[in-house]
């Protein structure tokens, strides 16, 4: 069963979504991330969606839920690399990604999470 790889860098988890995810895969990612935050005692989660040319309500909810669960586990989530067309569509759709921090790219995302040196 395919899974989206989760990288660990210190107390930061990095996920790069590069495939067109079907709903089951998105749910698996959500579960995997939550589990890893606990297991690796992560303080931050960086989700890179720069390769996604589509974010629909399901993916949006998955991201919101992941951020909410991370917060409960005392970790911060930042989503980076949202494409302009995706952003415009989400606004039109009425999806706000409430409670999720965003940044233009991985570098800025790391800065947001307070990680500027390794």
């Amino acid at each position: 069963m395919e899974r989206i790889p989760i990288l660990r860098m210190g107390d930061l988890l990095l996920v790069t979504i590069q495939v067109d995810m079907h709903d089951r895969l998105a749910m698996t990612l959500q579960d995997d991330l939550t589990e890893r935050i606990v297991r690796d005692r992560a303080k931050g989660v960086l989700i890179d969606i720069s390769a996604l040319d589509l974010v629909d309500s399901f993916i949006g909810r998955m991201i919101s839920n992941t951020a909410a669960m991370a917060r409960v586990l005392d970790a911060q989530t930042v989503v980076v690399g949202m494409q302009p067309a995706v952003a415009i569509t989400l606004v039109e759709l009425g999806l706000t990604l409430h409670g999720v921090k965003t940044a233009l790219n991985v570098e800025k995302g790391m800065a947001l999470l307070g990680k500027t040196d390794f």
């Binding site: 995810m21 309500s57 302009p84 009425g94 999806l95 706000t96």
Partner: protein, 155 residues
Amino acid sequence: MSAALNNAVVFESELLERHRQDRTERTALPLRSDEDVVALRKHVRERAVAIALSLVDQTKLVTAASELARNTLKYGGGGMVYLDALTDGFRKGVGLIFVDNGPGIPDLEMALRDGYTTGGGLGLGLGGSKRLVDEFDIDSRAGEGTAVSVVKWKR
């Protein structure tokens, strides 16, 4: 649910022939699994690119397709989608008709309200999808099924 037992969707809706005159091509695709939704997204993207929709319009159309396909799958018990190539003589368009034999939508007006932030709209997100396309029509009968037809034209 009976729809799961046979492959044919029998919800007869006049929406299926609404754009008959403008239609140059029709492809029928099944919506029975998550993978079917992913496949549909690819097909819709291809059609959107073929009529040279702007990147934003492509994204809007594919996103609307994804939303509606998911509805068909999760609330309609699975069904079909018809992908139409349209032209009204002046401009080209892409039409999508989602059909299922599910329980139908009891309160259409409520369903068309926003489904995300306010909690209304029965969670179907129909109001949102409506804003992403140029034409949006629903035909739903309790106990029989639902048909949702959307069209996006090249500006």
